[in-house]
Symmetry: C2
Subunit: 142 residues, 2 copies
DNA sequence: CTATATAATTGTATTATACAAATATTTTCC
DNA sequence: GGAAAATATTTGTATAATACAATTATATAG
């Protein structure tokens, strides 16, 4: 299957990724960086989890997530809950303060998206949202 | 303007970025990494350019691009052309070998996209390509 | 109960990045 | 025309996110 839109998706994804990673890698949006945002978002959405599960979800090394979670715990955005059935294991839950910065950050991000798409029709925004979701679901398991 | 699709775009973009950066940051696709791919792509598409212009295009620090370009020169994918009108300035042009690895890498990326969207209709691929392009154009100048 | 497996943390190295300093050259302007 | 300022690039240094390896503490298997 050749399809000129494959080529378009390839190029535009590359550009999108470059721009967004440049805008969010080093710099903070709100008071937290991208990895912190995703960690808080994951826990806020799916509940408390241990570093192993989080690392698996994010496809990061456990040690990486361990440090990220420890940093967020240090800042008071997460707290550690010992697993009652396994003395080695902990899960991280989000705090009130963590939820607050997550919401603030989400709002800032949504404002950026609103600004970027301010000349779009509602249908275009809807299509982009749905196609990105479909893309992410199509990728699952890869 | 509140729009539930803003929220959907926000979340799905975050997931997309996390997945793609994890898949391309550290690891190579083909024989070059993401930053090398973008640099070669830029030069192949728009012609020879100096580090200042490239850094501006990528919104990276000049020193960062200088090192990236030097690394690609070292590997034989780029070569340096002194600016005849300015003894301080150089531009980088892509070599045959650079073009070859760029094409190979692009093909690998397109194969991944083809695989990811194998159950999509042609119209969905077209819409995603066009909306990503529109997004990237909407972002210009931000 | 000992050996092995596992959850998490900590040590170490690498890499992409930014900012600052250095170098070489060009432009400005008196 | 020459000194001062500006500019293009490279190189030095620091930081942060990451992976892999080693360690620690606990659990499970045989």
């Amino acid at each position: 299957m050749y399809d000129k839109y494959l080529e378009m998706i390839e190029l535009e994804l590359a550009i999108l990724i470059r721009r967004i990673t440049n805008a969010t890698n080093r710099k903070l949006i709100g008071v937290i960086d991208r990895s912190a945002y995703l960690l808080l978002h994951q826990i806020a959405t799916y509940g408390a989890a241990g570093v192993k599960a989080l690392a698996s979800e994010f496809q990061l090394d456990i040690s990486t997530v361990s440090r990220q979670a420890a940093a967020l715990e240090q800042k008071g955005y997460l707290y550690k809950i010992p697993d009652p059935t396994d003395g080695r294991a902990y899960s991280f839950q989000i705090t009130e303060s963590g939820l607050k910065v997550l919401m603030e950050t989400k709002q800032i991000r949504m404002n950026i998206i609103e600004e970027t798409t301010k000349d779009w029709t509602p249908e275009e925004r809807e299509m982009l949202g749905k196609l990105l979701r479909k893309w992410n679901q199509s990728v699952i398991g890869k």
